[in-house]
């Protein structure tokens, strides 16, 4: 009885210490992050695109896939070209139309949706898979660990973009490839190719932590392995994981854009920025806007994500140098 109380108290005390350290660590990090101007700009831009993506159906002036009058409204130029001699503008279409008379502004807004979803969903999946396998394999070792390392060898041997391409291109017309206009397959491909990196990162961290005193101590007092992993190890590997995920998000967006640019991404006519570039390229030598506008959007979101990622890295790991 007495022992039990003592253990509990000790554990409580220990947790408080960890919690307090955490809080100050995180608060420090937040403070550093908010002082990083590039990261702030990045966050604002991301928030803007997120807002547009969420409210695309309200904000978009037209149906993104709708044809607006066929021939007479095809390939209109953005209205700001008018003062510079643009012959084909129409105030009803602020950013102009594509070669099928669809409104570019509306398509860009809906395109933001795909980028946002692709940035969030697969990265969450990667996080869940990578974190669990990385923790287990690092903490328990043994055959799980061995298997992970062999799988890593195979996955690392594929050039990663090409691996995604071969998965997506070959499975596009299976039932899996048809789910949600092909989005699900892209999620799966991204997850399959990218979880390994995260698992390895966490495995390495866990291996270096597991012989530290506080883990030894927890093990001695009989804390079950799952609890050790979740309560003790996990918070301590979180910082590098966050940084790695912050860079995985633009990575996933870029991969989606590349697939769509190649014409093997989300199924048409769903609007995505990459696919708009693909389509716009057909006319780019005479009318560059259908290519330039989505290209600018992709560049803006990727740059913003990278700025935020850099900010997080500097904030969470002040020793890193790149």
């Amino acid at each position: 009885m007495a022992t039990a109380v003592t253990t509990q108290q000790r554990r409580a005390a220990e947790l408080t210490v960890i919690a307090r350290q955490q809080r100050s660590l995180w608060r420090d990090a937040l403070h550093r992050l908010l002082r990083n101007r590039a990261a702030i700009v990045g966050m604002v831009v991301i928030a803007f695109f997120a807002f547009v993506a969420i409210f695309a159906s309200v904000l978009a002036p037209y149906d993104p896939n709708g044809l607006n009058g066929g021939v007479k409204n095809q390939l209109l130029e953005p209205i700001w070209t008018k003062p510079f001699g643009g012959q084909y503008t129409n105030p009803a279409f602020l950013l102009g139309t594509d070669e099928l008379s669809r409104d570019i502004l509306s398509r860009l807004m809906y395109g933001a949706r795909v980028s946002m979803i692709v940035g969030v969903v697969p990265v969450s999946v990667i996080f869940v898979i990578g974190a669990s396998i990385g923790m287990v394999s690092g903490y328990l070792g043994g055959w799980v660990d061995n298997l992970l390392m062999r799988v890593t060898d195979v996955v690392y041997a594929f050039p990663d973009l090409l691996f995604v391409i071969i998965i997506v291109a070959t499975l596009r017309n299976t039932d899996l490839g048809n789910l949600m206009d092909g989005l699900v397959l892209i999620f799966v491909a991204l997850a399959v190719v990218n979880w390994v990196g995260l698992a390895r990162l966490i495995r390495g961290q866990v291996m270096s932590l597991k012989h530290r005193e506080f883990i030894e101590a927890a093990r001695c007092i009989g804390v079950p392995p799952t609890r050790i992993m979740l309560k003790h190890l996990f918070p301590n590997v979180l910082a590098p994981v966050i940084v790695s995920l912050a860079f995985a998000i633009p990575g996933a967006m870029l991969t989606e854009a590349t697939l769509s640019f190649l014409g093997i991404g989300v199924r048409p006519p769903t609007s995505t920025w990459g696919f708009e570039i693909n389509e716009g390229f057909v006319v780019f030598s005479t009318t560059p806007w259908p290519v330039l506008l989505p290209a600018l959007c992709i560049s803006a979101i990727l740059l913003s994500c990278t700025f935020v990622g850099n900010g997080l890295r500097d904030a969470l790991d002040p020793r890193s140098k790149i």
């Binding site: 195979v154 050039p159 070959t170 017309n173 299976t174 870029l254 030598s285 560059p288 560049s299």
Partner: protein, 306 residues
């Protein structure tokens, strides 16, 4: 060390086996036959069946896989199903161009990234530093196809300065090489800057300075030599990345390399082509990865490879 190298090299075999297995399974999971190629002039089904039978792709997939591996071990990559020519030939014609493009890009990347990284480190936290960091961030972030389109539009379509179709003369090569060089170049700039920053804070650099050596001698003779170790280790995978990652650039600039063939083959269900290109890519990547580990061990005695 030798045992380590041998072990790593031997590991290539099972890894390649699994790469082959995965690719083969995926390629055959895609519906359709390589002979279903023309929607507007469909061939009679008997013709398709006859061709499938002739090329053995009516066999159960495990049997096809075993056959494929058997031929592969004997060095026979098979005939391309869409081109009816030996796969080895088709790849042989493309890989040279792809390598040329990749190496050219590497030279460009190195020649701007190392000076930029060094200057950036020496002038840390000055406008020059920030500018080079910004360029590096943009370079690693903006997709190559976006940069390529901008360049084609500006230099090809608008200014008529450079041709953007084909391969051969330096004018043809400069744009694709530059676009391809941007990503790794930007990354190398960041690496050079970081390791240079670390090097100039080391004791031996301070010692060299305090001995009264000229700044130039300190930087070139002492700091730079050590700062370039991490850069050197990156060059291998960067080259592998350039060779395996050039397919979009090849397509945009009509460069007759093998990257373009890869995607066309997947789409055309040209199984022998898909297999051979994937395996070749995987092999290049694995060799590059192993080389890094070894080179790292050789260059930096503090690191012990086990």
């Amino acid at each position: 060390m030798l045992r380590y190298v041998i072990r790593r090299l031997l590991l290539i075999i099972p890894t390649m086996f699994f790469v082959a297995l995965i690719t083969f399974t995926l390629a055959h999971a895609a519906p359709g036959s390589p002979f279903d190629k023309n929607a507007n002039r469909t061939l009679p089904q008997e013709t398709i069946d006859r061709l499938n039978r002739y090329y053995g792709i009516d066999q159960p997939i495990p049997i096809q896989f075993v056959d494929y591996l058997g031929n592969l071990i004997r060095g026979d990559l098979g005939l391309s199903l869409t081109r009816q020519r030996p796969v080895a030939d088709i790849i042989g014609q493309g890989i040279g161009t792809t390598a040329q493009l990749g190496i050219g890009a590497l030279v460009i990347a190195l020649s701007f990234s190392i000076p930029l990284g060094i200057i950036s480190a020496l002038k840390q936290n000055t406008p020059i530093d920030y500018l080079s960091l910004l360029i590096a961030t943009i370079g690693t972030t903006i997709p190559g196809f976006v940069t390529a389109i901008f360049l084609i539009y500006i230099f090809g379509v608008s200014l008529h300065l450079l041709p953007f179709v084909g391969w051969g003369s330096w004018q043809h090569m400069v744009m694709p090489m530059f676009v391809l060089a941007l990503g790794p170049g930007a990354f190398l700039t960041q690496i050079t800057r970081a390791s240079m920053l670390e090097a100039i804070r080391q004791d031996y650099v301070r010692t060299a300075r305090s001995k009264g050596l000229r700044e130039r001698a300190v930087i070139v003779g002492h700091a730079l030599k050590n700062a370039l170790i991490p850069v050197a280790t990156i060059v291998g995978p960067a080259t592998a990345g350039l060779i395996t990652g050039s397919f979009i650039i090849e397509s945009l600039f009509n460069v007759p390399g093998m990257g373009r063939l890869y995607i066309i083959s997947i789409n055309a269900r040209d199984y022998p082509m898909i297999m051979s290109t994937t395996l070749l890519y995987a092999f290049i990547i694995m060799i590059a990865n192993i080389t890094v580990d070894i080179v790292y061990g050789v260059l930096d005695p503090r690191i012990k490879v086990a």
